[in-house]
């Protein structure tokens, strides 16, 4: 009796486990479709950032389909959930490429997830569009990078902090989540700061694990570091939902942007939705797009996403926001569509050369171009200050798009690296 009961329970457990790992149901396959894989964490610590990218990709696919699809075929999304689990990213990527036979994949947020799927894309000759700013130091034939390289985000932000308008900071805290992106970015920034005459004693580097929730000690340390004599700024590469407790603690501890500004590279409108931004007014973020930009393309883009959210009954649909990686996803899908139409094929080896030089009037208000050689976009850089309503107020921008330098000149040995991926 007992044993039977237990068995029943075990089978229930097994059912729930398999339910968790099942991919979301894919629509019944129509005869003539082009399959597009979407590889974003829909659960776990990164879901806060990545869920919106899945929605953006779906919205863009619907937009493209409503305009007649690509090469006369409809796009068919295939969604998988790698659950913020890096090895699972590789498994899911393999599933997308070899089982679902998708023609292109839009996905990943953290660099560690990208590094984990790279071997799969190289082995199976897949095509990945990666929509998030990252540390550079990579150039792969199978990947197009639609987010920013360090010279399109990190370096301008630090230059701004050192300028008079940015507060003339001469002391820096480099604070990040402990993985490849923050570590590499901070290595580049350290070299950059040293080249600007900032001494070792004026740089503090601090890392926390993924999902870290208690920032009391770190904020106390920042306070102490900032009170030692020079104007101090914090450069945050904290990723995922740790940002919520970090900013909550920052607000509660009364560390104001006018005293110690924090500039973040992975915090946008979406991450700030879960935070009361009134105590955070004036803290900064550096991106290639902000929702608050005023131009017709952006008005259309934000309206399209709001309508999409209402139509699909997303949680808090009346308050949805757009952000930089969402714009990058949108740009990526459209550029891929243009390249497929130019190549007249979805074959990876024909699409890759066709991507070179593709351009688009983007929501950032600029004509965004895929570089002819280095698989990165030419993008404008904006620095924004957090406002009380969770939006950003642009306080600095580049006059036009900037070409990406994936191999940062501040890392020794990079001058010899080739500017285009090896074939």
């Amino acid at each position: 009796m007992l044993r039977r009961h237990f068995l029943k329970l075990l089978s229930l457990t097994a059912a729930s486990v398999s339910l968790g790992s099942l991919a979301l149901p894919t629509p019944v396959q129509a005869a003539e479709t082009i399959k597009v894989g979407i590889l974003h964490s829909l659960s776990g610590t990164m879901a806060i950032s990545e869920t919106a990218l899945k929605e953006t990709a779906l919205m863009t696919i619907e937009e493209i389909n409503s305009q007649g699809g690509v090469l006369g075929k409809k796009l068919e999304p295939v969604i998988v959930d790698p659950a913020s689990n890096w090895p699972l990213f590789a498994e899911k990527a393999r599933q997308l490429l070899s089982k679902d036979k998708v023609d292109v994949v839009f996905g990943c947020w953290t660099s560690v997830s990208r590094k984990s799927v790279l071997p799969v894309f190289k082995e199976l000759n897949g095509l990945l569009f990666y929509p998030v700013q990252y540390e550079g130091e990579e150039l792969e034939k199978n990947v197009f990078y639609t987010g920013a390289a360090p010279n399109q985000q990190a370096i301008p932000a630090v230059e701004y902090l050192m300028s008079e308008d940015g507060g003339s900071a001469t002391r820096f805290v480099l604070l990040g989540t402990d993985y490849v992106y923050p570590r590499t970015t901070n290595k580049i920034l350290r070299a950059f700061l040293t080249s600007k005459g900032i001494g070792e004693a004026d740089i503090m580097e601090e890392y926390t694990p993924f999902g870290h929730g208690d920032y009391q000690t770190i904020i106390a340390k920042i306070k102490k570091f900032a009170s030692e004599g020079k104007k101090t700024a914090v450069i945050s590469t904290i990723n995922g939902d740790s940002n919520v407790p970090f900013y909550k603690e920052l607000g509660n501890a009364g560390l104001k942007a006018t005293d110690v500004p924090v500039v973040a590279f992975s915090v946008g409108e979406e991450e700030l939705r879960g935070v009361d931004t009134k105590p955070l007014v004036g803290h900064l973020a550096s991106w290639n797009y902000f929702m608050s930009l005023k131009n017709p393309v952006n008005d259309q883009f934000t309206k399209m996403y709001k309508d999409w959210a209402v139509k699909n009954k997303l949680p808090a649909a009346d308050k949805v926001v757009t952000n930089d990686p969402m714009e990058a996803t949108y740009i990526g899908l459209h550029l891929w569509k243009q390249a497929v139409e130019k190549a007249k094929s979805t074959e990876v080896d024909k699409v890759i050369p066709a991507m070179a030089g593709q351009s688009l009037k983007a929501p950032s208000g600029f004509e965004i171009k895929m570089d002819e050689k280095n698989h990165h976009l030419h993008k404008p850089v904006f620095i924004g200050e957090v406002k009380g309503d969770g939006q950003f107020n642009v306080v600095w921008k580049t006059p036009g798009p900037v070409r990406a330098a994936p191999w940062s000149p501040y890392i020794p040995g990079n001058e010899k690296k080739s500017d285009s991926p090896s074939q």
Partner: protein, 535 residues
Amino acid sequence: MPRSVFAIRFLGFFWFGLLLWIPPLHAEWDPQLARMLASGDFDSRIGAIRQLVASGDPKVEGILKAMAEDALAVANDRLLRHSEGITVDLSTGTTLTPPLPAMEMVSINNRIRREIQAALALLRLFDAKREVRLTAAVALQNRATPEMVAVLERAMEKEQDPEIHDYLFLGLALSRLNSPDPAQRLTAVRALGDSSSPTVKVTLTRLLQNTQEPNDNVRKEAKTSLDRVSRRLAIGEAVASLFSGISLGSILLLTALGLAITYGVMGILNMAHGELLMIGAYTTFAVQTQFRAHLPELLDAYLLAAIPAAFVITGLVGVVMERTVIRWLYGRPLETLLATWGISLMLIQGVRLLFGAQNVEVANPSWMSGGVMPIPGVVLPWNRIVITVLALLVLAATWGVLNRTRLGLFVRAVTQNRAMAGCVGVPTSRVDTLAFGLGAGIAGLGGVAISQIANVGPDMGQGYIVDSFLVVVLGGVGQLAGAVWAALGLGIAAKALEGWVGAVIAKILMLVFIIVFIQKRPQGLFVLKGRQAEH
């Protein structure tokens, strides 16, 4: 450079104006000022702000306030306040409807914000209300510059309140450090010894480092003052660090207390404990949503309603778990472990289906935002204070239930000797259910506390289960007191280590310490004395 000449000229106007307090002659401002505020680079905007302040017009405070709150707009060279859909003309005070088409919001950055804050604080030094003057004086104590001396002196002359007077004096001392008269510098340096502001420490350190101070006496006095300030700051740091340890300890205690009953006292290896915390946190979220929808005016009180709701709902989940699964597995720890782990997966998936896979937002009530400053420079956040108090209350209530009620007596009797308790008429199976429900309910309360500090998501419980078991095992199985000491000890040690070696290494060191400790003392910190039936 024309830019800096411009700035300096207006700086002159600014202080001159404040000094004489020119009465307003006319209600309109130079239209060019409005244009300068709205557009142009940040230097000319700062110039415009200084010019406004120099005009001495009482309406300037309104303009600066609007600007600081991102609500200042300009239309046809008129300055407007536009917030929440209402537009007011700042020079006439009339409300304008509909909003003017040519309206343009004035955007500011941190540099301008700093300028406005200083200007507002200076203006407010002469306010009629004591609180306003006090806040202004506190804000200025670290920011005073030589240009402000005249205004501060005038404010001090007028000031009757001793507390505000002290702050002004500190501010004045700071701005007098560059005075050419060594006697004045000496008094300034001496006065600064009473400060507890990091800025003062910085200024004094710099003064000593750069050997810009020619007078030996002043340097000596500066050294003494610096020592005093540093000592006070060090005490502040120690207090802050101790508090963060206690705060972490109280969170650990709240998460582990339920487990101290279900595992510690009853001996059930409940792997779904983390999910009970999660249910408590989601109940808080649900209560908050209900309040938002139906009782928006009482939103700040939602937490008070969430506490009993979380206790009852999680307790009920616990009762159901015990009745349907756990009671059939008493005495078989391995099966209990597997079954409760299965339950935990089902609970996670269930919540994911109900609420979605993404984290949900649980906002602190407004009375829990911000912090209190017991010593200058040390901010203790309200949410952490409230949670520490909650932990103490829950601990007291649990202790009371276990030691002062009939149920508690039965629970202790059943766990010490089940057969004997049954023989003397204790309804053992009902006691088991109630005790497990109690433990689960307390876990729910832990969930309420966590929701105020950390993220609320379906798999949040996974992060707490290990810590909870560590606390219970370290404290000694079968003990409440042990859990209390273990939680506090772990909290304070973790925070001290974190400040020293960083968060990642601190976590590793804590685990190593616990492994070594358990090897040396497998029974934990405290052991129940006397004979005990096998669990």
